[in-house]
């Protein structure tokens, strides 16, 4: 695991995630996007490792989390995707878990414990 990417239109969330992740994995490379389009462009131009992690919000304007996963699959990209959302909607959870690329569904707020488990999950 070398890289963690955060995709969320909410700056606050990204800020929290960055600080928390750095406190757990100080060596990790961290990149946060508020635009999913921007994120896709970047991801398809770097060498993505299989155990790299994306933390993905679902509710975003322009392109929501599911649309992002579709595009992500279309580009034949592969890494571990964790959904990070506030949504309590069970339909969202069900749909997310049906995607093969999705490794977990995390309800905000993100915690240190959850971050620490990223390694063991792999």
């Amino acid at each position: 695991m070398k890289n963690i990417f955060i995709i969320d239109d909410d700056f606050t969330n990204n800020f929290i995630a960055e600080i928390l992740i750095k406190s757990v994995f100080p060596e990790i490379k961290l990149l946060a996007f508020t635009s999913p389009e921007q994120a896709l462009l970047t991801l398809s131009n770097i060498n993505l490792a299989q155990d790299d992690i994306i933390l993905l919000d679902l509710n975003m304007p322009e392109m929501d989390g599911f649309q992002f996963i579709e595009k992500f699959n279309e580009k034949k990209l592969n890494c571990r995707v964790f959904i990070l959302t506030t949504s309590l909607n069970p339909l969202d959870k069900e749909l997310a878990e049906s995607k093969t690329v999705v490794c977990g569904y995390i309800l905000k707020p993100l915690t240190k414990e959850r971050i620490a488990s990223f390694n063991s999950l792999y």
């Binding site: 929290i16 635009s35 304007p61 707020p109 915690t111």
Partner: protein
């Protein structure tokens, strides 16, 4: 089959060499024989087998020939077997008498003259055949004999066949028609002329010289000729007929009777059946069907004929033979959907004599082949499961379609089984069956006469036949003393005529008491060693009784009586006093009496009650006046049952034109009547039911015209009986349903599936729309579809309730969706700042946190709290618009409202340089509505037009407000950047949906707008093109 196999000879002789010699001789001549060395052995064989003749030696040890003969004659089983005695002694009177007493029929002197033996055996064989035939026909004969007692002269002129009596000179002396259909000439033109005047008669009788044919009949008077012929008449029509040529003895003279039966119609059918049968009898499989279709095309005169296999799982037909005239078309496969064949495969024949395409508009094949008429016959197995189909198609209307259907139905079983159809065969046989000559059994008389015509030997039977008691009474007497010859030539004449031939012929003599005797005579000559004739020997059988009957029959109606008998209809002939003179078996069966019980009785008293009798007496007067009539009549049978008949009565006349009686053709229509009665009853019942049911009912024909309706139907549509003429289904159906109704009826007619129940709007006479629920059913008459029947019900009230219910359900659904949305907002949007607050506060506990980060955290906490506050406020707004009940409606002026909104936007308008235009119709400037909502709606839409302007052109916004009947239509047309409706179509009005990240917004405006429009009872829709502009259309009720 060898005809001698039934005629086996038993030879009895005590000397083996004789047996071997005799059986060898007989075998050479084709006779089968058994041999016995003694009387007892012979008796054993006689018990075991059946013999046609016994040849026995007189001189035998143990039991001599006479003793054996006595035993044979004493046994009922064997008494009728003729015997030929063999004797070594020269023939003597006593000896022969001895033989005759015990019933021997013939004798031979040893050493046996082989030629004579064969002659005699042959003789007996013929007699044997005659008597065998007799047994077979005796039963039939007895039946016929009863009828023969009646004189049929009266019927002569009303016979169905044309009868020509021709005398020995070939002159026509009698005809039973004034105008002959067959010759095409009047009787007066034919009578007393030579038959060759009619080319047809000439053709039938075969020879120009009538004498030749007459002699032919004279020589063998029992021979009759049946000729089936086909002639082309002057008018080019083909006449099929059946001629029966018989000899008739009238006043002791030979005549020829030619009876012509018009069988044109029957023949045509028969010929067709026969041809088909003959040509396909030995064929199987494809070639059978190929012949079959060929004949269908040729004989039934249709353009196409096909036989096809039904492929059940594909619901299609594959042709086995598909023929157009002489050409076999390639195998063709078609789906049954929408075709007339699909109806046929339900098991019933279908006939569309014309316009078949009209019935099956979706059948492309009918169009391709240009089919106009259609006949389909299913081929089914014994369990009625469909196997295939016979189809006749034509590009013109089909003539005689029902008759063709009948013909094909005859052929269908054969085709289905690919076996020779028993029905076809039996039908053919029936028509070919002819009367057989009847014989009467009698003890044979044997005689021997010399060249001076003096009887020198005979048996008692011979003497009795010619009118004496004993053989001795006639022996030694000249033939002239015994009887007068009528057709019997003197022996000398015979000798010259038949020298050396064995003959079997019918002769007539007149006994001394004046009685005529008919004889079947078998005569031959015995030669002396020099080869010149010595004497004549003969055997005679008395056939007088039979001849008498035959003569009677021949005289008048021998031919057609048979026809009467096989007729299904009853036939009754009564004289002018209603005494029944003749009936046929069919009639007897009908009334349950036997012929004997009927003939001679007064039919009116026997077969009818008082009321009908009185009617009949009046009818008899009509007959006497020469009227023919068809009417229905009730008969009472022997068991008291009443049967209904249709009767065809016509008067009969004798040749002088005097009324002689009435001949009646009677068909039993009891069942038919019963059925009609039932039908009438059920029709009445049906009518009372349909007029009393709560549902309307109407029937329409194929053109959509109403042909039947009940009272309730009238009630539903407010119609009255007198406005029902020429009423079509469209006249009481709302216009928008016309097409659907048409299709629905048509689909039904063409055998397609339609939904059982249909709802549509009808038009009441007062102009109101009413909701109708209808069920549709196919109407058939004689297998031909004549239209549809619909049962209907006024469900307007129910529909109203349903509508109300639907509205409520829709509202509830909306509410539910809103609640779901609210839930979603709570779960996501509201949770979002809270989650952030939790996350941020956790960060404060993270060790080694930098100072600048700390202040950032605090800043974010503040922002999140503010965001949460915002959202709670938004929710408040959303919830507040949910119910418009508390708001007060007032008059709102659109121009004023728009001006005030534009004022609040003055800064943005100036900045964006947007051009705002309005086009408000005069009658649409004021609306009675909730002002705050209207304001909010317009505010949001104007705000959006400014926010989402295009940067590449001068922004414009056009507001059009117009009024249409009960609605206001507000259109907001901008030339902004547009919305990709393919991408966002579903979400445009969704809560917290935003489409432009670069432009500030919460995704609340359009959602609120929609809520408010709906709260006012209106609708909002959007049309948009990316980078072209957007149009919001709002419809508000007045």
């Amino acid at each position: 089959m060898d005809i001698n196999s039934h005629f086996k000879i038993l030879i009895v002789d005590d000397r083996l060499e004789n047996l071997i010699a005799l059986s060898a001789v007989l075998k050479k001549e084709g006779f089968y024989s058994d041999t016995a060395l003694s009387g007892s052995e012979a008796l054993k064989l006689l018990l075991k087998n059946k013999y046609g003749l016994i040849i026995l030696d007189v001189q035998m040890p143990e039991m001599n020939g006479f003793e054996l003969a006595e035993l044979i004659k004493g046994n009922t089983k064997t008494k009728d077997i003729p015997l030929i005695f063999l004797s070594e002694n020269s023939f003597g009177k006593e000896f022969s008498l001895n033989g005759i007493v015990v019933g021997a029929l013939d004798y031979l002197i040893k050493p046996v003259d082989v030629a004579l033996l064969i002659l005699k055996v042959n003789n007996f064989r013929k007699m044997h055949l005659v008597s065998e035939d007799l047994v077979e026909t005796k039963k039939t004969f007895e039946k016929k004999a009863i009828l023969a007692q009646i004189s049929y002269e009266d019927l002569y002129f009303s016979l169905p066949q044309e009868v020509f009596i021709i005398n020995k000179e070939g002159l026509i002396i009698s005809i039973n028609r004034f105008n002959t259909l067959f010759c095409g000439l009047k009787a007066s033109e034919l009578l007393n002329r030579h038959f060759s005047i009619s080319p047809f008669l000439k053709e039938i009788l075969g020879e120009n010289n009538g004498n030749a044919i007459l002699r032919y009949f004279t020589e063998d008077s029992k021979l009759k000729k049946n000729i089936e012929f086909k002639i082309e008449r002057i008018d080019k029509t083909i006449f099929y007929g059946h001629a029966v040529i018989t000899s008739a003895i009238i006043e002791g003279k030979f005549h020829i009777q030619v009876s012509i039966y018009n069988e044109t119609e029957i023949k045509k059918q028969e010929l067709f059946l026969k041809q088909i049968n003959d040509s396909v009898a030995v064929k199987t499989g494809a070639s059978y069907f190929s012949e079959f279709t060929k004949f269908c095309c040729e004989e039934l005169n249709v353009k196409y004929a096909l036989v096809g296999n039904y492929i059940k799982d594909q619901h299609s037909i594959e042709t086995i033979s598909f023929r157009s005239g002489n050409n076999e078309l390639p195998i063709y496969k078609y789906n049954l959907k929408n075709t007339p064949c699909s109806l046929v495969l339900n098991g019933e024949a279908c006939v569309y004599p014309k316009n078949v395409q009209l019935f099956f508009p979706n059948d492309e094949d009918l169009k391709t082949f240009g089919i106009e008429s259609y006949l389909g016959m299913p081929l089914v197995d014994e369990n009625k499961n469909p196997l295939g189909i016979i189809v006749l198609l034509d590009d013109k209307p089909m003539e005689d379609a029902l008759q063709k259907e009948k013909l094909i139905s005859f052929l269908a079983p054969r085709a289905a089984n690919e076996l020779i159809s028993a029905r076809v065969n039996s039908k053919l046989k029936k028509s070919e069956e002819r009367f057989r000559t009847l014989f009467e059994q009698n003890l044979a008389g044997v005689y021997r006469a010399n060249l001076e015509d003096i009887i020198i030997e005979c048996n008692d039977s011979f003497a009795q036949i010619i009118g004496f008691n004993k053989a001795n009474d006639v022996i030694g007497k000249h033939i002239c003393e015994l009887y007068e010859n009528i057709s019997h030539p003197n022996f000398n004449e015979k000798l010259r005529e038949y020298a050396g031939k064995l003959t079997l012929e019918e002769v007539i003599i007149k006994k001394k008491n004046g009685e005529n005797v008919y004889l079947l005579e078998n005569a031959y000559f015995i030669y002396n060693k020099l080869g010149s004739e010595k004497y004549l020997e003969g055997t005679i059988i008395n056939i007088t009784e039979r001849k008498k009957i035959e003569e009677k029959i021949n005289e008048s109606e021998k031919r057609y009586r048979g026809l009467f008998e096989i007729m299904n209809d009853g036939l009754l002939y009564s004289d002018s006093n209603n005494i029944i003179l003749m009936v046929n078996s069919s009639f007897c069966e009908m009334v349950e009496y036997t012929k004997e019980e009927l003939i001679g009785q007064n039919g009116y008293y026997l077969l009818h009650d008082d009321i009908i009798r009185s009617q009949l007496i009046r009818k008899l007067n009509d007959r006497k006046e020469g009227k023919s009539e068809q009417y229905e009549l009730e008969f009472i049978t022997k068991s008291g049952k009443r049967i209904q008949t249709k009767i065809n009565a016509s008067p009969s006349y004798d040749p002088d034109g005097n009324f002689t009686g009435v001949s009646s053709l009677i068909s039993n229509i009891t069942e038919q009547k019963l059925y009609e009665k039932k039908l009438l009853f059920s029709k009445e019942k049906f009518e009372s039911v349909v007029n009393n049911i709560n549902d309307g009912l109407f029937q329409i024909d194929l053109k959509g015209k109403v042909t039947y309706y009940n009272q309730k139907f009238l009630d539903i549509f407010g119609l009255s009986v007198n406005c029902m003429d020429d009423l079509s289904i469209d006249s009481f159906t709302a216009k928008e349903y016309h097409q659907e109704m048409f299709e629905r009826h048509f689909t039904r007619i063409t055998g397609g599936e339609v939904d059982e129940i249909m709802h549509y709007e009808g038009i009441h006479k007062n102009g109101n729309r009413i909701w109708i629920e209808s069920k549709i059913k196919l109407l058939k008459e004689n297998n031909i579809i004549i239209g549809t029947q619909s049962i209907l019900r006024d469900i307007t009230e129910r529909k109203k309730q349903e509508d109300q219910l639907n509205k409520t359900v829709k509202e509830l659904n909306n509410r539910n969706n809103e609640l779901m949305q609210f839930n979603y907002i709570v779960s996501h949007n509201l949770r979002s700042p809270i989650a952030n607050l939790i996350g941020l506060s956790t960060l404060l506990n993270v060790p080694n946190i930098k100072e600048d980060e700390k202040s950032k955290i605090l800043d974010y906490i503040h922002q999140s709290a503010l965001k949460m506050d915002d959202q709670i406020k938004d929710l408040n707004v959303v919830l507040a618009t949910r119910s418009a009940l508390n708001e007060i409606k007032e008059k709102v002026s659109f121009p004023l409202l728009i001006r005030s909104i534009c004022n609040t936007f003055s800064e943005q308008i100036r900045e964006s340089e947007i051009v705002i235009k309005t086009n408000i119709q005069d009658d649409a400037s004021e609306i009675f509505s909730i002002k705050s909502y209207l304001e909010s709606i317009l505010y949001n839409l104007i705000s959006n037009a400014i926010k989402y302007k295009s940067n590449s052109r001068t922004p414009e916004l056009m507001m059009e407000i117009s009024r249409q009947k009960e609605f206001f239509v507000i259109k907001m047309i901008d030339n902004g950047c547009g919305i990709d409706l393919n991408l966002y179509g579903d979400y445009v009005f969704g809560l917290y949906k935003r489409f432009k990240l670069d432009i500030e917004g919460k995704g609340l405006g359009l959602h609120m707008t929609k809520n408010q429009v709906e709260a006012l009872g209106g609708t909002i829709t959007v049309e948009s093109l990316l980078d072209k502009g957007t149009v919001f259309s709002i419809i508000l009720p007045v």
